[in-house]
Amino acid sequence: MASAPSKLYADDVSLLVVLLDANPFFWSASSLPFSKFISHVISFLNSVLLLNQLNQIVVIATGHNCCDYVYDSSSPASRSAGTGKLSALSVDLLEKLEEFVCRDEKLLKKEPEGSIASSLLSGSLSMALCYIQRVFRSGPRHPHPRILCLHGSQDGPEQYVAIMNAIFSAQRSMVPIDSCFIGAQNSAFLQQASYITGGVYLKPQLLEGTFQYLSTVFGTDLHSRGFLQLPKSVGVDFRASCFCHKKTIDMGYICSVCLSIFCKHHKKCSTCGSVFGQPHSEAASEPNKKRKAGDT
């Protein structure tokens, strides 16, 4: 699948929507402490605001059970000057982040089974895209938006459908999704997202230098990206997860009406209701006959 065509921009004003992973299960087990990580991120965000007077930043925290906005540089409530030891952005961001984490904790119903404790990436991606849509509709003169995912938790296969939908709508609106993945193994979802929307996926090797990675790769506006050497994607994992059990699969059954993916043969498609015919053996390559809903 070819990656998205990108719009041509004339100036370097950018709107950066940052999706910050605030999943307590991931951070408690991570080698890099959250406090150090946040200080890198805040320095990076300050440097983005420094580059152009009109740059805007929105930070959305991705928790285990919910997502919420924790910082918006264009809102009138954000401070204009810092206290001398901390910048204005830090004070606002850290306050809201604390409140968010408390709220997230309250919503926890039960401990997650096994080691997969994923955060709600689909929720925060959707929120980011809604915000960007609002910016698009605010008039012809708006900064050029892009999404940056600072993520570490593993992929939750149950979010596959929602995340792919979000990725395709980002592709449609020509909003690149960059990802800086700080977890252990590569995230297939984020790799696909960056590949499809024309963004950059990076898994930094030295986490102590996160600021340097962020400012080198993700700091540039969309206009200058055309001239820079950025990390190219190598080996994207395109595996899908099935709709019935949310397992990751390589081969499966696909409904020819709505393209839903199943790992086992079903009598009826759960998404669009089409009725399937008899399964053929795997050796034969004849297509299954599918009839529209209503026939038996």
Binding site: N46, L50, L51, N52, A81, L86, Q229
Partner: protein, 454 residues
């Protein structure tokens, strides 16, 4: 017709022209570092941020590897700019070649700014005191700035339309008008070509031009230009609409503020004990780089395919500007109706305005209703304006010399070849053995012919 262009030179060119010691002194102020960073081309900004925490010098080759091959020209521009502003210092080492390093003061200031944020040297006034005077909300502050600026511009072009005079001293005005107006004896001052082009520039560019003149003139008034520049840049980081106390300012800065108030950049107010100033939108625009070509203000001009212009504006300045190249037909309370005609355009071209300037003015000030349409100005209008301009340029003149009466055909052929080698042959007539050669080749041609004769 010679094309004269006033280049709205970026403020930063002025800063770059300061002597090295003064520039290093300027960098000790964190806000100036920020302002200068904002004015760099985008690629240069990226390099600075990338090198922010690198202590050692980075070789030129490594930096070139950051860019794709088709970005090399931009890369060169960025590096030149950084060297010019002394943000990058160059070092040469025999083994590794040239390498660059960030200016240490600049670097540490920016590092501090990123981690701790910046604190302005002046505190905002508590609202209990400012509330006693009629408070100026955002819109009112903006209206004030606009009014002052327009009044100033009208006075600048010596228009009789200016309703009230600003408080700027006549000598100051003359300095601003230098280059924009000419005065011949017994005649009222007329706008020069540069003056016309100045009027058609957008507000930011005009602002920079005026500030530049103000600063270049400061030396004559015994004000150190570096101090003035640092004060102006600091001002641009104040929040619009907030009142700031004047008690921390020096005498020089207070005088500067008075001048700036006349231009509409700040509003001065006096309380019972203290006085304060309120920066307007024009001040914060001081740090917007001129590379940001899209001016983000509301347009007001609608151009239709029948060459009529409808400008939804009450400003006399806009009327004057439109009068430069179109025929104004009616002036209604909120609307100016005009038409672009051949005569009005010829008038404009005579005054030195180019078609491109007129078209870019119309495009940049397009009313929001038509701004979203592509193109915002109808193509038949833009094409016609360009055609009328090229009408005046039908004849191209090159200084040349005419050679006649060659003795033999061989000499003629030799002369032709010679001229062709030097790229100076403009016209030849083999039958009558006549030749027209460019003036710069004329001397060589004479030598050649003399040698031929011997």
């Amino acid at each position: 017709m010679p094309q004269v262009k006033i280049i709205a030179r970026n403020f930063m060119d002025m800063v770059a022209a300061l002597p090295a010691m003064k520039l290093d002194q300027l960098y000790q102020n964190a806000f100036i570092c920020e302002a200068i960073l904002r004015s760099l081309p985008p690629l240069a900004k990226k390099y600075v941020i990338q090198m922010l925490y690198i202590e050692e010098a980075v070789t030129t080759k490594s930096i070139e590897e950051w860019v794709l091959p088709d970005g090399l020209s931009k890369h060169k521009v960025a590096i030149d700019r950084l060297l010019q502003l002394r943000i990058f210092s160059e070092a040469f080492d025999r083994s590794s070649g040239t390498s660059y390093r960030l200016n240490p003061t600049f670097q540490s200031n920016l590092q501090k700014h990123i981690t701790c944020g910046g604190v302005l040297p002046r505190e905002p006034m508590p609202s209990s005191i400012t509330a006693r005077l009629p408070s100026l909300e955002d819109l009112a502050v903006f209206a004030f700035a606009l009014e002052q600026w327009e009044c100033f511009l009208l006075q600048l072009i010596n228009s009789t339309q200016a309703e009230k005079m600003t408080n700027i001293s006549p000598s100051m005005m003359r300095i601003f008008q230098r280059g924009l107006l000419t005065q011949r004896d017994k005649e009222p001052p007329r706008l020069t070509e540069s003056g016309f082009q100045f009027l058609l520039m957008d507000t930011n560019a005009q602002l920079w031009y005026i500030i530049r003149e103000y600063i270049s003139n400061s030396e004559e008034r015994d004000v150190d230009s570096a101090d003035l520049i640092s004060f102006l840049l600091e001002l641009s980081f104040h929040a619009t609409g907030e009142a700031y106390n004047m008690n921390t300012l020096t005498e020089v800065q207070r005088n500067t503020l008075k001048d700036l108030a006349d231009l509409g950049l700040v509003k001065l107010q006096q309380g019972r004990k203290e006085s304060w100033f309120i920066p307007t939108k024009l001040t914060t625009n001081l740090s917007v780089s001129l590379t940001d070509s899209s001016s983000r203000k509301e347009g007001f001009v609608v151009v239709e395919t029948n060459f009529r212009i409808y400008a939804y504006s009450t400003s006399k300045l806009h009327c004057e500007i439109l009068r430069l190249f179109s025929r104004i037909e009616y002036q209604l309370p909120n609307l100016i109706v005009g038409a672009i005609t051949k005569e009005s355009l010829y008038n404009a071209f005579d005054n030195g305005i180019t078609a491109d300037q007129i078209i870019s003015f119309l495009q940049q000030n397009a009313h929001p209703r038509v701004a979203e349409r592509v193109p915002s100005v109808p193509e038949n209008v833009t094409d016609q304006i360009r055609l009328w301009e090229s009408d005046l340029n039908r004849v191209e003149m090159t200084p040349a010399h005419f050679y006649d009466e060659f003795p033999t055909r061989d000499v003629f052929e030799a002369a032709c070849d010679f001229a062709r080698e030097y790229g100076g042959l403009l016209w030849e007539d083999s039958k009558k053995m006549r030749l027209v050669v460019k003036t710069d080749v004329h001397m060589h041609m004479r030598e050649h012919l003399r040698r031929q004769r011997q």
